[in-house]
């Protein structure tokens, strides 16, 4: 397929541009140096007059010439093999890069194209619900309410997909500022009080210090905390508690979100941070929240763990470096 080959060649060039050193250039230099060796031997023999007419005509001359020829052939064969290997590796790298780019473009376009029709549906349903088109019965309002919550779920899904795509494509701009993790968490706890109150869930704040600083992006870290709190509240039955604990630990700050929820079976914990993984399909969610949280934490060179006991609850532990300079790359 000429078109595919052309794309691969362009991608090969792009892959080459990303490499610090041009492998072909280095290969050529190495082999040029190696080819010089037989010539040097030949000149050595010539300069020292070891290569007289008698020697050249005799058996020794024949053996030397054959050795010279064979060594050059050998070099050429090894050179061709290495060049073929390089070409194959670069083509595979180019194909991988191309398919990654196609996937990213696809996700971004689809998500973007979904937002316009979603906006149309949302505003028109709102207009009907608000009675702007005509009188609406309570029964009709209930159904419209269901449509509205479905739209909200789709919106979260599209936004989640876009966030994940941006993080995985490495196009997220992370602004690193000195942040007080306790302050950010405090704000998020306030936001969740109403939601928790509806289920009579108590959010307990256990901050060892009111100023626990990390270097990070406020929006992204807030999103990670929101995801943990929202999961905690979602999976905790009525009258339960969700505790947010923050404390320093050597060069790190640890944030723990502990709930008294249903807990996660041991065999499911490994899948928890996978995309679209919903352990409890009856609960509303996109299955992207924890995948995004993990990406955000890793973006800050931190780690996230889970400890859980079925029937007792779960503990999500987020470990963030206090100062990125102390973390080895």
């Amino acid at each position: 397929m000429p078109k595919q080959e052309k794309t691969n060649k362009i991608d090969c060039k792009l892959v080459m541009q990303e490499l610090k050193e041009n492998p072909y250039k280095q290969l050529n230099i190495a082999f040029s140096l190696m080819v010089i060796v037989p010539f040097l031997v030949f000149f050595y023999l010539l300069i020292n007059r070891l290569f007289t007419l008698d020697v050249l005509i005799g058996n020794t001359g024949f053996i030397l010439a054959t050795a010279f020829f064979i060594s050059l052939c050998g070099y050429y064969i090894v050179y061709s093999i290495l060049k073929n290997i390089f070409n194959t590796i670069l083509t595979y790298a180019a194909q991988a890069k191309h398919s990654d780019q196609l996937k990213s473009t696809f996700v971004a376009t689809v998500s973007h194209e979904l937002k316009n029709p979603l906006s149309s549906i949302k505003i028109n349903i709102y207009n009907i619900f608000a009675g702007l088109i005509g009188q609406v019965s309570q029964e009709q309002k209930n159904i419209l309410g269901l449509c509205q919550s479905t739209i909200e779920r789709m919106t979260r899904l599209v936004n989640g997909l876009l966030d994940l795509h941006k993080i995985e494509a490495g196009v997220v701009d992370v602004k690193r500022n000195r942040l007080n993790l306790a302050e950010i968490s405090g704000k998020q706890i306030k936001e969740f009080q109403t939601l928790a109150g509806k289920k009579n869930i108590r959010i307990i704040k256990e901050f060892l210090d009111e100023s626990l600083f990390v270097w990070g992006d406020e929006d992204k870290l807030s999103q990670a905390i929101v995801n943990l709190l929202s999961n905690g509240i979602k999976f905790t039955p009525e009258n339960g508690t969700v505790t947010l604990k923050i404390y320093p630990d050597d060069k790190f700050v640890k944030l723990e979100c502990i709930d008294t929820g249903f807990g996660i079976p041991g065999d499911k914990i490994g899948m928890l941070f996978n995309k679209f993984e919903r352990l409890n399909a009856t609960k509303e969610g996109t299955g992207l929240g924890l995948a995004i949280t993990k990406d955000i934490v890793e973006m800050h060179r931190g780690k996230i763990f889970v400890e859980s006991q079925v029937g007792k609850g779960s503990k999500f532990i987020m470990v963030l470096p206090r100062d990125l300079r102390s973390i080895r790359r």
């Binding site: 906006s119 149309s120 549906i121 949302k122 505003i123 028109n124 709102y126 207009n127 088109i133």
Partner: protein, 128 residues
């Protein structure tokens, strides 16, 4: 008796269904609505009608939202009309660029109609 001045809003949006929904919503609040479905028509309506507010989409045919914005902000007759952006396009750089160009509010689609309404009311209160 003082006559109530009806505020005129120009919607520049190429998604027909969204434009109709927005028009219904804003009409219900007593605003006068005019609409354009591409950049050039939007610019010409803004110059002709001199609305009190422009609701502008960024992904528009015939130039795009930033082209409209640049034209409006560089024209004597339209530079002071407040512009509110509604967009499905993502990117902090877009929002920053729009705000640097004098946009008063920036909404990501799909937006909350109630928040949009309160923002519009706030814009009109500020301009009064």
């Amino acid at each position: 008796m003082q006559e109530k001045i009806v505020k005129k809003i120009l919607i520049v949006e190429d998604e027909k269904e969204l434009m109709l929904g927005l028009a219904t919503l804003l009409k219900s609040q007593g605003y006068l609505i005019i609409a354009a479905n591409d950049s050039l028509f939007g610019i010409s309506l803004a110059h002709k009608e001199k609305p009190d507010l422009i609701i502008l989409d960024l992904g528009l045919p015939a130039g795009g939202g930033f082209y409209v914005l640049e034209n409006l902000k560089n024209s004597v007759g339209t530079f002071d009309i407040p512009v509110l952006i509604l967009t499905a396009q993502q990117g902090l750089d877009l929002e920053e660029r729009a705000k640097q160009m004098g946009v008063v509010a920036y909404f990501h689609k799909p937006f909350d109609p109630e928040i949009l309404l309160s923002q519009i009311k706030e814009i009109f209160n500020d301009s009064n």
